[in-house]
């Protein structure tokens, strides 16, 4: 695809804004405009570049960690739109809204353009040389123990390079923190299946029983799951799949369930055991363990009507294979691991393991496998910081000051570190605390490889390549920065690499064989790899080891009434804003939340019944107070939530980041109590209890939904039919 002798990047040179001026209607003039506009031609152009005809390049979406392959539409040197790459098993040419907005991250007007050095309370622009020198200076005479590197999920060659860099001064303190990573479930899976992230074959299941796993919205790899879901609905041998969602607050997945069951917060595990009991197929110690969980008791504790439990059990027994998923809602409690374990046990009992739960193909390069982690890591870093253990702190691809639970006071502790370096795209909350801020290339300007944590179908390594020239001269790719830094310490090993591109190319070509390059010569293989955007590996698919057991399975009774803080706070994960790192992309701010259609703001979901008790109506500004703190936001009456719980979406409430995010809504992270899962030490997201009080103010909620609300009136607008009334077999 790239003809030799022509530099990969040259053709990306912008043909000139005039070359493809965007057409304006009406207000522009309406007559011939001879000799007014300039047309700038290429100086040199390869034959395949034709003005007004778009070129497509494959790369990888960096909006979340799912690792969807994207296909960027480039015209006159500008990337215009991101489309899915059909060749990828993960997203098969499909995209989510979040991914689409990647271009707005790239073109964002609030991106950092220059390295900034803190002087007092303001930042002064400095050169990269100075910045590197400064880092080198700060690192001299500092032992590896005193250096901490905090990062979001990293994988691929970047991770390897980072590893080498940290090794170069014997630093073991690489903390990986993804605020919304399913850490507890990983641990539970490790126990039950022997792998942290097995493959869920939703498409092969006839029934999916999901305990708060929002796999259509924001859970692990939503685009992939959505596709599986579509097949699942079309049905295995003609029988349409049935989705049952058990959760205290309706997620997007819950909204698409055949049966949505509001359960008392935290009792998911109990219900799971109850169902095992109702199934009556369990034997041995499992049977013994669940004996106590008869329908009556379970129903009493979970608030799920007994008839419902029997129905579910009956259906699970009748239709096999099924699939039981443990999601965020189940894991978010002090006994989260217990819940997850119980749920995995149910899978085991139903005999789904090996059928709908399989071992995922693994990438045979451990050093490239994604580094995962969550609050446990952050906590230990936080403790270290509190103890003044670290002289230098690096932070990359994560925003702990914004996402850390308010109770652990991360902002204050971070100040205790001697010298804080932030690699950032925006001047976000964390960057604001740093002493040195280094601006990064956007994902559409940068080179890299990415290994998705959730492998869809055979192992794959995703290639990330620039879709256009750098927008800002003084931003750098993380790879280039690391390379520059590591050269400071191990110059001779790395001096042969001019830049990260060179490093990457060499690294990939070294494993040409393993990457299925075969006998192709380097250039051909490299160019093919780039044009494909994916390296498919003959992944080794191990059988699942491990076995879910009842050993150590102990579920606490549901929490009893708390007089002072009567309500459970459920920080919900908004499908497009997630943990808030993308909140500065206007498309995401303006695309309504699917269930409430609210835009540009936060809100508190509360069940109409509860609201009536508290005298709250839509638009009331309420104060939500936890033991840690309190926030004020607008109330929205939402039937899809358990009356004992309220819910506030995450991702809003930025104090920094940019013009679109700043000042929109509130940040529930700030009022989360420091309650941690007993086994894994991860934050128990749903364990914060709150009280709600009216402030007296009232606003009109900004949403797409009209005064008619979500009700159909008169004519049939959105039709619904039940399975016994329709014949799906004949459908195309």
């Amino acid at each position: 695809m790239i003809d030799s002798g022509f530099d990969r990047r040259d053709f990306l040179k912008v043909m000139g804004w005039g070359g493809a001026a965007v057409a304006l209607s009406g207000c522009g003039n309406t007559s011939i405009e001879d000799g007014q506009e300039t047309i700038v031609s290429y100086v040199e152009a390869p034959d395949y570049v034709i003005p007004s005809i778009a070129v497509y390049y494959n790369s990888t979406c960096a909006q979340c960690d799912a690792g969807c392959s994207i296909n960027g539409r480039v015209r006159e040197g500008r990337v215009l739109k991101l489309e899915g790459n059909p060749a990828s098993a993960i997203n098969r040419g499909k995209m989510c809204g979040l991914g689409q907005a990647g271009v707005q991250h790239h073109y964002n007007p609030d991106r950092l353009r220059e390295p900034l050095l803190r002087t007092g309370n303001s930042g002064e622009t400095i050169t990269w040389e100075k910045a590197y020198a400064l880092i080198a200076e700060k690192l001299t005479g500092v032992s590896g123990e005193e250096i901490a590197f905090l990062s979001g999920g990293v994988s691929g060659h970047l991770k390897a390079l980072l590893g080498n860099y940290l090794d170069s001064f014997g630093c073991k303190n690489h903390f990986v923190y993804e605020a919304l990573a399913p850490a507890v479930v990983r641990a539970a899976n490790k126990k039950a299946y022997g792998v942290e992230m097995p493959r869920y074959n939703i498409n092969k299941a006839k029934v999916v029983l999901s305990f708060g796993a929002d796999f259509l919205g924001a859970w692990i790899s939503p685009v992939h799951f959505s596709q599986q879901y579509a097949q699942f609905r079309r049905g295995v041998d003609g029988q349409r799949g049935v989705l049952i969602q058990v959760e205290s607050k309706m997620t997007l997945t819950g909204a698409n369930a055949d049966r949505w069951i509001p359960i008392r917060p935290g009792t998911e595990g109990i219900l799971a055991l109850g169902i095992i009991n109702a199934l009556g197929t369990a034997t041995g110690d499992i049977a013994a363990a669940v004996k106590g969980y008869d329908t009556a008791r379970v129903s009493k504790e979970t608030g799920v009507p007994p008839g419902q439990i029997d129905k579910i059990a009956a259906m699970l027994k009748l239709r096999s294979p099924s699939l039981v998923l443990a999601g965020g809602a189940a894991e978010g409690y002090a006994h989260g691991s217990q819940n997850a374990a119980a749920i995995n046990l149910l899978n085991q009992v139903l005999g789904n393991v090996g059928k709908t739960v399989e071992a995922a193909a693994a990438v045979p390069f451990p050093q490239m496998a994604p580094a995962t982690g969550n609050t446990a890591a952050l906590k230990s870093l936080n403790d270290g910081l509190a103890a003044g253990k670290y002289k230098v702190l690096f932070s990359y691809a994560t925003n702990p000051v914004f996402t850390a639970p308010g109770a652990i006071k991360f902002r204050d502790n971070m100040a205790k570190a001697g010298f804080k370096v932030a690699f950032a795209h925006y001047l976000d909350e964390t960057a604001l605390q740093a002493d040195l801020v280094l601006p990064l290339d956007s994902a559409l300007e940068d080179w890299g490889t990415q290994v998705p944590e959730y492998m869809a179908d055979g192992a794959q390594i995703n290639i990330q390549q620039p879709l256009m020239e750098k927008l800002h001269a003084n931003t750098r790719g993380m790879g280039d920065i690391l390379l520059a830094l590591i050269k400071q310490r191990r110059a001779d090993d790395y001096k042969k690499f001019a830049d990260y591109y060179a490093y990457l190319r060499t690294a990939v070509l070294q494993n040409k064989g393993a990457f299925g390059g075969g006998s192709a010569d380097d250039d051909t293989f490299w160019d093919e790899t780039l044009s494909k955007g994916i390296i498919k590996l003959a992944g080794t698919k191990a059988a699942l080891s491990g076995k879910a057991g009842v050993a150590g399975l102990k579920l606490p009774a549901p929490a009893e009434e708390d007089g002072q803080y009567p309500l459970q706070l459920i920080p919900s994960v908004n499908i497009s804003l997630r943990d808030g790192r993308n909140s500065n992309q206007p498309w995401l701010q303006e695309s309504p939340d699917p269930l409430t259609t609210i835009v540009w703001d936060s809100w508190m979901e509360i069940h109409p019944k509860k609201a009536a008790e508290l005298g709250i109506v839509e638009g009331d500004i309420v104060e939500v107070t936890s033991r840690t703190g309190s926030i004020k936001t607008q109330a929205y009456l939402f039937p899809g939530i358990h009356p004992d719980a309220i819910s506030i979406p995450l991702g809003q409430g930025h104090e920094a980041l940019g013009r679109y995010a700043k000042g929109c809504g509130v940040n529930p992270f700030q009022i989360l109590d420091a309650v941690f899962d007993k086994e894994t030490g991860e934050l128990a997201m749903h364990e914060t209890r709150v009280k709600v009080s009216k402030t007296g103010q009232r606003v009109t909620v900004v949403k797409d939904e009209g005064p008619a609300g979500a009700k159909q009136i008169r004519e049939k607008i959105a039709g619904q039919v039940s399975t016994d009334k329709v014949d799906l077999s004949k459908e195309v």
Binding site: T700, G706, P707, A708
Partner: protein, 460 residues
């Protein structure tokens, strides 16, 4: 009591009327300047809206139309009264109209001009308004002849031009009088030019009468058609609350109604400002009042008809809109409309009010308010509660820009009208003379017969 004194000397008539061109009461100037100020407001709003965009009028994707359209209909309606008095009554030989038809006709013209402005103000890209004209153009494109909006434009244009013609032709003899009474000055020139060398010869008079008659005949169907077409802007659409067959007559009735109400208002004002007590007499006022009362009842009936036809139709959406009008956000205005339009006119049924100037003044204003509300209540509720529930919007409220524009339009109308009355004789002198003459002849005849009778008696 007589419609007009029969012993007014013709010279006095000329003198009185022409006085109005010279020195009216102070109030005239007050009104004039208030009007100018109001126009200023509207101009300000328009400039702001033109530069910033339609959004400042606080319409939205549910409420795409607002007060502009409502007020547009209001002014179109206003225009009908003139035609009623000058043309229809002319054909009916109702001679009591003679002292007042002139200003009524002027009213027609000026309210049409006002209405026309609202079409422009309403457009998102008013600078492209010529696209709507069917003129031979280089693009080789026609406007869309299927669109009621286009019929509207054409109808209004025709109506405006012919009513101007009617007004002018009717003035020629009086203009001649003005010409003869003037001693130099730009006015003399103006009158000389406009009176087309009127000498008052028999031939001129004959042709004059024929022409006037012809235009009158031509004007009446126009008047009816114009408002029917405005009605079809709504009736032709598919929206609930608009898609009503009875709209055209309903609109025409409403038009005549508001027109007559406006005439009462102006009658009272002019009578005072230009000292026309002798010509615009209470008996005449009484006649108009009775006419107004009759029309108000017709309107009330047609209103009821509309409700009934909606209510007994199978169109649930239309019913919902109707209910929404009565109980929803717009309920206060809707009920206000019912009260002003159907209850208040009942006072006109009482003799003692029919000549009570203050009461009539207040009532006539209320009636007009009611008629304006009617137009608004036709436009807005349908948007707030249309076919597609998801896009309902119950709490949209017109912005100050819209109100300012409506406010200013009244100023604009008043301005034009007052200037007219100052420059042209707002009472038709020659027709008043005729009236006086005929009346006096009639009484003479009566007296004569009376004498004979007595004489006969005396013979014995």
């Amino acid at each position: 009591m007589k419609d007009i004194r029969e012993d007014i000397a013709w010279a006095k008539i000329n003198q009185d009327v022409l006085k109005s061109l010279e020195n009216p009461r102070k109030l005239y100037w007050v009104i004039l300047f208030v009007a100018i100020a109001m126009v200023g407001v509207a101009v300000g709003c328009e400039i702001y809206q033109y530069n910033t965009g339609m959004g400042v009028s606080n319409k939205n994707n549910s409420h795409v139309w607002g007060l502009y359209i409502a007020t547009f209909i209001f002014w179109i309606g206003m225009s009908h009264s003139g035609t009623l008095l000058s043309a229809i009554l002319h054909l009916m030989h109702a001679d009591w109209r003679k002292p007042i038809y002139r200003f009524a006709e002027a009213m027609t013209t000026f309210s049409l001009m006002t209405a026309g402005l609202f079409v422009a103000v309403h457009l998102g890209r008013v600078w492209q308004i010529y696209y709507a004209l069917p003129y031979p153009n280089e693009r080789g494109l026609w406007p869309n002849f299927q669109s009621p909006l286009l019929w509207d434009a054409m109808a209004i244009f025709t109506y405006l031009s012919s009513s101007i013609l009617f007004l002018y032709v009717g003035m020629i003899p009086d203009l001649a009088i003005c010409r003869d009474r003037m001693h130099g000055g730009w006015r003399k020139k103006l009158y000389t030019l406009l009176s087309l060398g009127w000498e008052g010869t028999d031939r001129q008079w004959r042709n004059f009468r024929v022409t006037y008659l012809t235009i009158a005949c031509f004007l009446i169907p126009l008047a009816v058609s114009v408002h029917s077409i405005v009605a079809s802007d709504f009736a032709m659409s598919q929206q609930p609350g608009w898609h009503v067959t009875s709209f055209p007559p309903y609109f025409v009735a409403g038009a005549l109604y508001s027109g007559c109400a406006a005439i009462i208002t102006l009658f009272i004002i002019l009578r005072y400002v230009f000292r026309f007590e002798e010509y615009m007499t209470l008996p005449i006022l009484k006649k108009i009042v009775r006419l107004t009362f009759a029309i108000s009842m017709v309107w009330t009936y047609l209103n009821a008809v509309e409700f009934a036809s909606v209510w007994y139709s199978h169109d649930q959406a239309s019913k919902d809109v109707l209910i929404q009008k009565a109980v929803g956000t717009y309920a206060p205005f809707w009920w206000a409309m019912i009260i002003c339009g159907s209850i208040v006119p009942l006072t006109l049924a009482f003799k003692r009010f029919q000549t009570n100037i203050p009461v009539l003044f207040a009532v006539s204003l209320l009636l007009n308010l009611g008629m304006w509300l009617e137009r608004w209540m036709i436009v807005a509720p349908t948007f707030s509660h249309g076919i597609y529930p998801w896009t309902w919007d119950h709490d949209q409220w017109p912005s100050v820009v819209q109100w300012g524009m409506v406010f200013g339009s009244f100023g604009w109308f008043t301005l034009l009208f007052m200037l007219f009355c100052k420059i042209f004789p707002s009472v038709s002198m020659y027709e008043v003379k005729e009236m006086v003459y005929h009346r006096s002849q009639a009484t003479k005849k009566l007296e004569a017969t009376g004498k004979m009778a007595t004489a006969g008696k005396g013979a014995h």
